[in-house]
């Protein structure tokens, strides 16, 4: 493998994906909170099934943007498949949602 995990996580490219992912998390969380409010559920509550779906949507959207710009080729040339590169964002989603539900 050409690129180590530690180099990848400290890279400006991963930080830019983290920023994009955070914006997508806000967007999806806002939509989810609105829909939860409509059906009478706590808007910012942590519901594991919903979180899995929300996280998948966020990752797929970010992956689509990366593929549109052909940056998946950059990652692949460094020996890093796209979904492996984005895997560290998975716990970020759950940590953010859990923190929000605790403080809400």
């Amino acid at each position: 493998m050409r690129l180590t995990v530690s180099v990848w996580l400290r890279s400006p490219l991963f930080r830019s994906y983290l920023r994009g992912f955070f914006l997508l998390w806000i967007l999806v969380k806002g939509t989810n909170a609105f829909l939860a409010g409509v059906v009478g559920l706590p808007p910012l509550g942590f519901r594991p099934g919903t979180e899995v779906i929300a996280c998948a949507i966020e990752l797929l959207a970010l992956g689509a943007f990366i593929q549109r710009d052909a940056e998946d080729i950059l990652l692949a040339n460094l020996g890093l498949p796209l979904w492996t590169a984005l895997a560290p964002l998975l716990p970020v989603h759950f940590a953010l949602s859990l923190l929000l539900s605790v403080f809400a």
Binding site: S16, A70, E71, N77, T84
Partner: protein, 229 residues
């Protein structure tokens, strides 16, 4: 001539009901620059995409060092030493050229700066890739590929959009890669670059490839019939 390191063998591929490739074969041999020429739409890019697993053929196989690669992927092949340069830009627009080199070549600036210098990209190292001209961007992409020290370099139209001085540098870089025993395979229309750079030539016509022996001694219209006499 040594055995091919990367090869696509007996490739059939249909796109949109049209037969693009029919029993096509191409390979990359260590220590040599191999050119793949053919008209626009002949299937050069399709064949390269099949080689790196970005497109699945209807039949045929990709081989690495003689062994079939059942499910080729670019990342998997890159870990074996492949560098792939497609015919569109693929760097991250928000990062500088230096950021890309630092990501690709760990070990500090000393590890990659000589390559950047040799290809003349130092003038825009600290500029964001998104504001570079087409030629600067292409040269940066190729310099990054050279800095990766690939065993196989697969390049789709590496000379496109480059000014003469930059073309010379890229040709020199391809020759230097081959001199270091890398296998270089590139697709192009440009006869001048092929004559100056290539050791071997494959021609792609009507979906079929042909190794053109002694191509330097033959008129270009014999390389492929689409070329005017």
């Amino acid at each position: 001539m040594t055995a091919p390191l990367l090869a696509a063998d007996s490739i059939d591929c249909r796109r949109g009901g049209r037969e693009v490739l029919r029993a096509a074969y191409v390979d990359a041999v260590p220590g040599a620059v191999t050119a793949l020429v053919g008209r626009s739409g002949a299937g050069k890019t399709t064949l390269f995409e099949i080689l790196v697993g970005r497109r699945h053929p209807d039949a045929g196989q990709v081989r690495w060092d003689g062994a079939p690669v059942p499910r080729p992927s670019l990342a998997g092949l890159a870990r074996r030493g492949l560098f792939y340069h497609p015919d569109r830009s693929w760097l991250a627009a928000g990062l500088t050229a230096a950021d890309h080199f630092a990501l690709a070549v760990p070990g500090g600036r000393d590890a990659w700066e000589p390559v950047a210098e040799s290809l003349g990209v130092t003038a825009w190292l600290e500029r964001r890739v998104g504001v570079l001209s087409g030629g600067e961007l292409r040269l940066t992409e190729l310099a990054l590929g050279v800095a990766l020290r690939p065993r196989v370099a697969l390049l789709d139209e590496p000379f496109r959009g480059l000014e003469p001085l930059h073309r010379e540098r890229v040709a020199g870089a391809l020759r230097a890669l081959a001199a270091g025993n890398a296998a270089v395979l590139y697709a192009d229309h440009d006869v001048v670059s092929v004559l100056r750079t290539a050791d071997r030539l494959f021609s792609l016509e009507a979906g079929q490839t042909r190794l053109v022996s002694e191509f330097r001694e033959r008129p270009v219209h014999e390389w492929y019939h689409g070329w005017p006499r």
